[in-house]
Symmetry: C2
Subunit: 223 residues, 2 copies
């Protein structure tokens, strides 16, 4: 029986593209189309850095560092010059990403129904603390991949509810934002709802989630 | 002192795009532009599957299986129907990828100079045996990530020269085809030449390679 609902952040709860495209456009003076491509590469390389970190076996490269390395790559790739102040502004903009329109209401309703809530994300703890602010007291716990020393889809990250909150995986519903997150949760044995906004396919159909929908509202039907 | 030169395959030795675009175009009846995008997604998802495999901790998903899962994803993504026979033809086309124009000559020259040679690749052993054929006796050893139970950039893969051939990493020069491979070899402590055909940037500049160039010829200058 579900006691705790955990949420992926960067895909499930907040709108990376909608938040960062205007920011990148404003700070770097790029038009919207180019800023969109910039953000796409930045995000892709940030995730690549996290995946590399999992494989290298020298501990977890902080997510802030992955964000910086990926920004440097993207700036070089698009041949865009940047001042230290602009660089800092861009890296820190990951702390003020805007929640999807329905996100705060859905989390509030889950709390109202008596379930526990937690963020379960690849972000560093300080980044997640910042991103949790719009949810106020309705987001009760923050479980950062930093605490596990690895990135999703590594099982140690999905083990955090049991390790930190003493809640067994059978009592957890995870709200995933990406196919990789769905595979990680499924492989670890946690039930999953996929907020699949881009109508994406699952790379490994072995781990089909319990349910999926185009936004977060579908979570409420499972509780 | 270098005794053994190891080669990445899928980026460094063979031309994935040049080999697969005509194949995909012919088998699926796509125009060249669409076939190019198809191959790009197929390759990207194949690598994503390998990275996920490294993180999940349930052993290495075979590379052939990653190739199949990525093909299924790509077919669904592009909404292209396929018969079982076409599907099989496409998966098996990874065994007949064409070497880059200078590849066979460079490997032959390295052997002529008295160095040992080996493939060191993420492919399964049977795939690598097939891809090694054009190199004849000049490619002496095949070190598959299958033997390490993990994918690059995991250190166990870069440990194969010592484990299987008893050649210390200080005596190895690795020819990498991708930035991730450069980072993996550098992190493990193997000297590296980057055949950087797309003039790509390194995501983590901590691991700048000993040398790089636009094709394989630059390896000869290091020996």
């Amino acid at each position: 029986m579900v006691r705790l609902v955990t949420f992926d952040v960067f895909m499930a709860l907040v709108d990376i593209k909608g938040s960062l495209v205007p920011k990148v456009s404003g700070v770097l003076g790029l038009n919207k189309l180019k800023a969109g491509k910039f953000v796409q590469t930045w995000r892709q390389k940030q995730m690549e850095c996290a995946a590399i970190s999992n494989s290298l076996g020298h501990g977890r490269i902080p997510f802030r560092r992955c964000t910086e390395l990926a920004l440097d790559y993207t700036l070089a790739h698009f041949k865009v010059p940047v001042t230290p102040s602009q660089h800092c502004k861009l890296v820190m903009s990951w702390d003020t990403l805007t929640p999807w329109p329905e996100a705060c209401q859905v989390v509030a309703e889950i709390r109202r129904r008596g379930y526990k809530t937690a963020i379960l994300s690849n972000g560093d703890s300080d980044m997640l603390n910042a991103l949790a602010k719009p949810f106020g007291d309705n987001m009760q716990h923050i479980l950062s991949a930093e605490m596990a020393g690895a990135y999703k889809p590594h099982p140690e990250v999905y083990n955090l509810p049991e390790q930190k909150l003493r809640i067994l995986k059978a009592d957890v519903l995870h709200v995933a934002g990406s196919g990789t997150d769905v595979i990680g949760a499924g492989s670890f044995g946690i039930d999953c709802y996929w907020a699949n906004r881009d109508c994406n396919k699952l790379l490994d159909p072995t781990f089909v989630p319990k349910n999926e929908g185009p936004d977060l509202r579908g979570v409420l039907e499972l509780l």
